[in-house]
Symmetry: C2
Subunit: 248 residues, 2 copies
């Protein structure tokens, strides 16, 4: 049956190409995250601008992948796991594109944070947060490459650590703002940057769930603790009355 | 050819059901946005909790729609505009789910903002911002219902107004924080809430672009001004030296 064989080979080739594109997009997203945080910490405006430029490329890559994937579904009419491979690729490229957006948002804040000396502890904290998010991203892209859904699911646990670290940075920034009003504008931008990094971790977790979906056809049980815990936080440092806000 | 007719009718029925589900999800997302902002402004914790509960329902609806749409592609193998209808529905339900997430995030901040009297001007500003975002959402869902892509594209212009309003609220919040450090914690939560509302406007714009894609098979020219302009803002009130941050 050369016809069938030809069709199968052709589908396999298209899938391989799609998977390769995802891997390229993943590498691009990783680099953008790395560089945006480096630009923020070193006030490197040139590097920040290159991240903004990269984001347009990543957007284009996502759009191209989307179109290619849809064409593959329409032409090849894949079923079961083959269909999930394509649908999964669409979802992952969507998450990668959003990670790129978040990196771009961080890069755009460089000018606002520029020339403002921040305490070493704070800078270290944000760098550490971004290292954890990057680690998550790398791990989940590897798990996707190896179709290792157990590894992908195990990774979800680390998202809690990112949330805890984010919460600690959130507290620290509020305290710092209260100490000196001149810190407020710049700390506000760092607050948004930290939040963006925390969300990059969420997208890595989404990708982990897509890896699970591709292999099993199911969504993982919704057990993971999602989002940050700062939303209900009414005071930055509970045992420090002089600086705490007087809320109920 | 009764077979063909039956097949066509069946696809039409499935599409109709998918479109109806999108409309239900849209109504749910609108209500969540409305109620989350009302809860924030009135410190209504009970209402906030109901928004958080609604979000789980919206997540389930999105997952169910996703599965149904994928099954329809696999079973019916639609082409051209029929395929774009299904792909478009997947994208729109994704945006609606994220709007629900943003509303939930606002609702979760109610407890942190609770019992803190905010200036009337600020409260009005946030209410106005949310009204504009809701208006965008309603307009684009109508445009989707009527497959009116010109109306959808025209709507994108309003996103600039939302961004301008957000920028003005951002400035106001920074000024207010600088006036009294006790405002900082609560204003930080309002800052994130305003940012969430601004992003709801972005998702409405995404939906407008999907409506255009369904009808034309193309992405609209990327002319729209995207995102907020506060990222590069280094001082809240340019002509008010006593309170401005001393950044370069």
């Amino acid at each position: 049956m050369p016809m069938t064989e030809h069709t199968v080979t052709s589908y396999e080739d298209e899938l391989k190409l799609i998977v390769r594109r995802i891997s390229e997009m993943g590498g691009m997203a990783e680099r953008m995250v790395e560089q945006s945080v480096a630009a923020l910490m070193r006030s490197d405006w040139g590097l920040a601008q290159s991240v903004v430029a990269d984001d347009m490329q990543l957007d284009d890559a996502q759009r191209a992948l989307d179109e290619r994937a849809i064409m593959t579904i329409a032409k090849r009419q894949p079923m079961a796991v083959d269909l999930r491979e394509i649908v999964g690729a669409i979802r992952i490229s969507n998450d990668l594109e959003r990670i790129g957006d978040l990196a771009k948002n961080i890069a755009k804040r460089v000018i606002a944070v520029h020339d403002h000396a921040h305490p070493v502890q704070l800078v270290r904290g944000i760098e550490h947060l971004s290292e954890m998010a990057l680690e998550q991203l790398k791990e989940v892209l590897d798990a996707y490459g190896e179709r290792d859904y157990e590894r992908a699911l195990a990774m979800r646990e680390n998202d809690e650590q990112i949330d805890a670290m984010y919460t600690s940075i959130f507290r620290e920034l509020l305290t710092y703002m209260m100490e000196d009003p001149r810190n407020i504008t710049s700390c506000t931008h760092l607050l948004f940057s930290a939040k963006n990094i925390e969300r990059i971790g969420d997208h890595a977790t989404n990708i982990a769930e897509t890896v699970y979906y591709i292999q099993t056809g199911k969504q993982p049980a919704n057990e993971r603790p999602k989002g940050d815990t700062t939303a209900t936080m009414t005071q930055p440092v509970p045992n420090d009355p002089p600086t705490q806000a007087d809320e109920g």
